[in-house]
């Protein structure tokens, strides 16, 4: 199965990709967060500079990059989340 999702980029990842938002992107579902990250790396290879210092957010929930499997639906937001620096 496939879902059409919106991908949001923040902070350093905006500078690496040149975009703040992509929509919509076709993504297989269900998918591991590692495979989801690899899919984004294929679209924007410079994201590899964030390797090991990034997580994703799916429907506004943090997901570490690894074996966790997520189910995506049309219109879902996926975000690239570099290390936080609020406050």
């Amino acid at each position: 199965m496939s879902a059409q999702v919106f991908v949001l980029y923040f902070a350093k990842s905006v500078e690496l990709t040149g975009v703040k938002e992509e929509g919509s992107v076709a993504v297989p579902t269900p998918i591991s967060s590692r495979d989801l990250w690899r899919l984004l790396l294929q679209r924007h290879p410079r994201l590899s500079l964030l390797q090991d210092q990034v997580v994703l957010a799916v429907r506004q929930q943090y997901v570490a990059i690894g074996d966790q499997v997520v189910t995506l639906g049309d219109g879902d937001e996926v975000a690239v989340v570099p290390p936080l620096s609020g406050g």
């Binding site: 949001l8 957010a57 937001e77 570099p82 936080l84 620096s85 609020g86 406050g87």
Partner: protein
């Protein structure tokens, strides 16, 4: 607290200068003898010979709001007497000396409020999807990383021994 007074959790992202009075007023209650406040201000750091002139903030706004709600639930679970919570955070350009974040928590007595305000800034730094870029007087900039954030400052895998070494 009178039964009719509903507990408030207020979060605002603002491109304008923050008003401490507004944040304090948002948590005031006749049932509360204590208002605990934290203000985070932009510091004029010197980093490698470059001077910080300001910070540029951005946020995943929808998620910052939902993470704030979870943070308030956490605060209330730990300190049930906490009455109202208000956090205002800047977006966009914040020059040195200005407040980046103002937070206030009201409670009947000061102990819980003081503990809660400390926890609030710690957890905001660890969990809210907000980012800041330091801008220097050289016009360079760099994205900051909070030590509180679990995915920053990751330890790198130690390099393998070089081929010449007899390991």
């Amino acid at each position: 607290m009178s039964k009719s007074e509903e507990r408030r959790d207020i979060f605002k992202l603002s491109r304008d200068w923050l008003s401490v009075q507004e944040v304090v007023d948002a948590v005031s209650s006749t049932s509360c003898g204590a208002v605990s406040i934290f203000i985070g201000a932009t510091r004029e750091d010197e980093v490698g010979g470059r001077r910080v002139i300001g910070l540029e903030y951005e946020a995943y706004e929808l998620m910052a709001q939902s993470e704030f709600s979870k943070l308030c639930d956490d605060i209330r679970a730990r300190w049930p007497t906490v009455t109202h919570v208000c956090v205002h955070h800047r977006l966009g350009w914040v020059k040195v000396g200005e407040a980046s974040v103002v937070m206030a928590i009201s409670s009947p007595h000061r102990h819980d409020g003081q503990q809660a305000i400390w926890h609030c800034i710690e957890q905001l730094k660890a969990n809210l999807p907000i980012w800041k870029k330091e801008v220097y007087d050289t016009q360079e900039a760099s994205w900051k990383e909070n030590a509180e954030c679990p995915w920053s400052f990751q330890k790198k895998v130690p390099p393998a021994a070089s081929p010449g070494e007899n390991v």
